[in-house]
Amino acid sequence: MSDQKDLLRAPFELAYNYKRSSGPLMSKFFDALADQKILGTKSSTGKVYAPAAEFDPETHESLSDLVEVGPGGVIESFSWIEEPKHHHLIKNPFAFALIKLDGADTSMLHMVTECDEADLKIGSRVTANWSATMENRITDIEFFTLEK
């Protein structure tokens, strides 16, 4: 019988280069990011979902009324990452945060950085910082920072 220390162990990497079809509505959301605009969708009840949603989870109606939200917003909840791992997009300490953008009734998950953990509070105002390279992805917003 082998000892535990003699067991074979090897690193593996599983990778798929998916291309995700965004669909007619979400394509507009991603296109708008390239113009540094964040879009939400407005329901017949007046509720604004941001990021844009294709359907209203409450009324189940199909949504198509796009409205611009942000780029500022309020932190609703956050989780501080003191030591980012290699797969994190930000190498300095940062927070994953739920951000309720101005004009929206729902919150969006993104990152907040260039601050200390103690600077962050639920209710802190943040604003979007745009990436230098636009790829029609949510990462076109590089991160959020505290409003000066």
Binding site: F12, N17, Y18, S22
Partner: protein, 165 residues
């Protein structure tokens, strides 16, 4: 169609990095594979031979502690002809993935079949491993490049059914 080609998709790569720990049965198996040997493990209760071994007999629930050296010859138990290319896969379709039943084994494992027109492939066909050069051998069944048909009569398919002992 607009002249300006519109990008209607988002790049969405998925990447998973992990460590695989082989466990003692697979470690013993792969250490032999590195030497160019295929060694199955046999159940002390029902005598079924497992290759690659997982360390226990799923029927009897006992450790398969008897090592059984096997040949690199066997037959095709089942196969699929792959016509659709997978991005990043260096193998050009059409190619054949087959469940390989080595002589003396009670279970099969997945490997490639090459060296024959895909239309000729059939269940029961006799095959043998084609090994990479010895200096390229690692702890992997990829030491076998593929299996290729050999000039021996087909195996009776009925004998491939699991034999109750």
């Amino acid at each position: 169609m607009s002249e300006e080609e519109k990008k209607d998709y988002a790049e969405s790569p998925i990447n998973l990095e992990y460590h695989y720990t082989a466990g003692s049965a697979t470690t013993r198996f792969l250490n032999q594979v590195k030497e160019g040997k295929i060694v199955g493990q046999s159940c002390p209760k029902c005598s079924a031979v497992y290759v690659p071994p997982r360390g226990s007999c799923p029927r009897c629930g006992v450790a398969t502690n008897i090592e059984v050296p096997l040949t690199d010859k066997g037959c095709i138990e089942s196969f699929t002809i792959v016509h659709i290319p997978i991005p990043g896969n260096p193998i050009v379709p059409p190619y054949v993935c087959a469940m390989i039943r080595l002589d003396g084994a009670n279970i099969s494992f997945l490997h490639l079949i090459q060296g024959i027109d895909v239309e000729e492939i059939r269940i029961g066909m006799r095959i043998q491993a084609v090994w990479k050069p010895k200096d390229e051998w690692t702890h992997s069944l990829e030491n076998i490049k593929w299996f290729t048909p050999i000039d021996e009569p087909d195996v009776d398919v009925a004998t491939l059914r699991f034999q109750e002992s």
